[in-house]
């Protein structure tokens, strides 16, 4: 593989991993609220969160571009106040991947949280644990299998995401080009050999994620 291809591989692995982590602080609380609290409009919020899955990626990409462009509501603020550009930079890639994979994490984590026996959380409280401690030491570990499952889905989706990414971040060689974009281009040009080589790399990355998470979970289960 060429140096440029290696760069793409590293960039993709790195940004996909980062996005799978970046969605945790938003995704987990959201999932918990959906699982454990009843509030009006819950189904609506849930639907909204799964929007990026429901809409064609270009549409999501377009909406993001409108929001985060320099003239967009959020992008304008970031640019004017913090001198931060999102679209057409690696941040744009991260943004697109995060938004596109968030629903996968949220729904998986939600189901996992629902399955945690509330009795265990109650007993943890009698042992003096506050809400945060209960969440971190009881709820989260017991839901870990579902959460890790959701993160793998999110990571895989991030590897494969194409439509939103190219809309928000473009396909700038050496800057925002990901494996998925490169594969797309090769497919369109009819360069199947190239495409398949890159497909292989994608698959290898996904395999490593699956295999790593398996190992992690197994260790976690053995630990006690």
């Amino acid at each position: 593989m060429t140096a440029q291809e290696w760069q793409i591989v590293w960039f993709t692995a790195w940004v996909a991993a980062l996005s799978s982590l970046a969605i945790l602080p938003v995704g987990l609380p959201a999932a918990w609220l959906l699982a454990r609290r009843d509030w009006p409009g819950k189904s609506l919020v849930e639907t909204l969160i799964s929007l990026p899955l429901v809409l064609p990626p270009v549409a999501t990409g377009l909406i993001l571009l409108k929001l985060f462009g320099r003239r967009g509501a959020i992008g304008g603020f970031l640019h004017d106040r913090l001198d931060l550009d999102v679209v057409f930079t690696w941040r744009g890639v991260l943004l697109a991947l995060s938004v596109m994979s968030l629903p996968l994490l949220v729904r998986s984590a939600r189901v996992a949280f629902e399955e945690v026996d509330p009795r265990l959380e109650q007993i943890a409280r009698t042992l003096g644990a506050g809400n945060l401690r209960v969440f971190c030491t009881i709820t989260l570990p017991l839901a870990s299998r579902g959460i890790v499952g959701g993160m793998i889905l999110a990571f895989a989706r991030a590897l494969g995401e194409f439509g939103a990414t190219i809309m928000v971040a473009g396909n700038i060689p050496g800057k925002t080009s990901t494996l998925s974009l490169a594969i797309y281009q090769n497919v369109q040009l009819g360069q199947d050999a190239h495409a398949f080589r890159l497909l292989g790399v994608s698959v290898a990355l996904a395999f490593m994620a699956v295999w790593g998470s398996e190992l992690l979970l197994r260790k976690a289960r053995r630990k006690p």
Partner: protein, 360 residues
Amino acid sequence: MSLLLRHIRLSLGGFSLEMDAEFHGRITAVFGPSGAGKTSLLDLVAGLRRAQSAFIQLGDQVLTDTVQGVSVATRHRGIGYVPQDLALFPHLSVRENLRYGCKSGGATSPLFGFERILEILEIQPLLPRGVTELSGGEKQRVALARALLASPRLLLLDEPLSSLDLNLRRRILPYLARIRDEFHLPMLYVTHDRFETLALADEMVVLIDGRVAQTGTVQEVFSRPANLAVAGLFTVETVQPGRIVKTADDLVTVAVGSALLTAVEGNLPANTREVYVCIRAEDVILLKGGDSPSSARNHLAATVRSVTREGPFLRVEVSCGFTLTVLLTRQAGEELALETGDRVVALVKAPQIHLIPRSA
């Protein structure tokens, strides 16, 4: 430290718990048939269940007051709870389970110390295990240790020894008794075991169908069950309908079947006529061959109907105008050489005949 429970009302599907009680004892035994609301009560005190109405005060501190909208968070109640389903944390090792609520404060006392508790409950070798790798009794001990290690101000124990063998119970009971005595740590202790109650508790509450059927000292409740349902919980073997035929000098005469018994009036409502007569099997003495003088008021001529060996005891059914069950040590029984059909005399002291009013 006293525990006040005022105008409690808690609905659970078709069941409702309604009670008003206060406990000043050190260990209060919570007795009652299956489904009476014992676990619900403990959950309520621990703050794990919301009641429609409740006022709960431990010592000086109001824990729950639905009128004022007070509800101290469970974690600030300082309550150690061994729930019926144990609720060990399945993802943690035994050691981590034990450490979960561990307060350094408690370790100052050797009785509450980590090592001491492990030793008494025999869980040292289990420490590195996962809790899914424990036997039923081992789980129960870990749950008990976990609650103790949190150095609580009040212990809620829901049948904490139910799946332990006698040997272990005999080690753990005195240990709980010492905790009770040295730390003045009050406990609510749910159990179906009369001996555990006798060994530990000084006060007792009997719940039946979500209502308080009786409260009082253990001795009081055991010896004077308030009604038939309560009496049924403690193996009162003979329960017969009777009718009061005479009252004089605090003594009443009751006709049961074809026999007349003398009993102490106690606090029967005035003008009670119809009663149940309750006689505990071990309160009856059998004499064979001839009647001899005795301080017992009731001397009943009886015929042995059956003799059953029951462990270290003999259970003897005699008929003396009604059917009376008698429990003898095997020794005593063998000396009497009882056979079905033998004629004997059954002695019962008046205070040991317990009367419960009944509607005719």
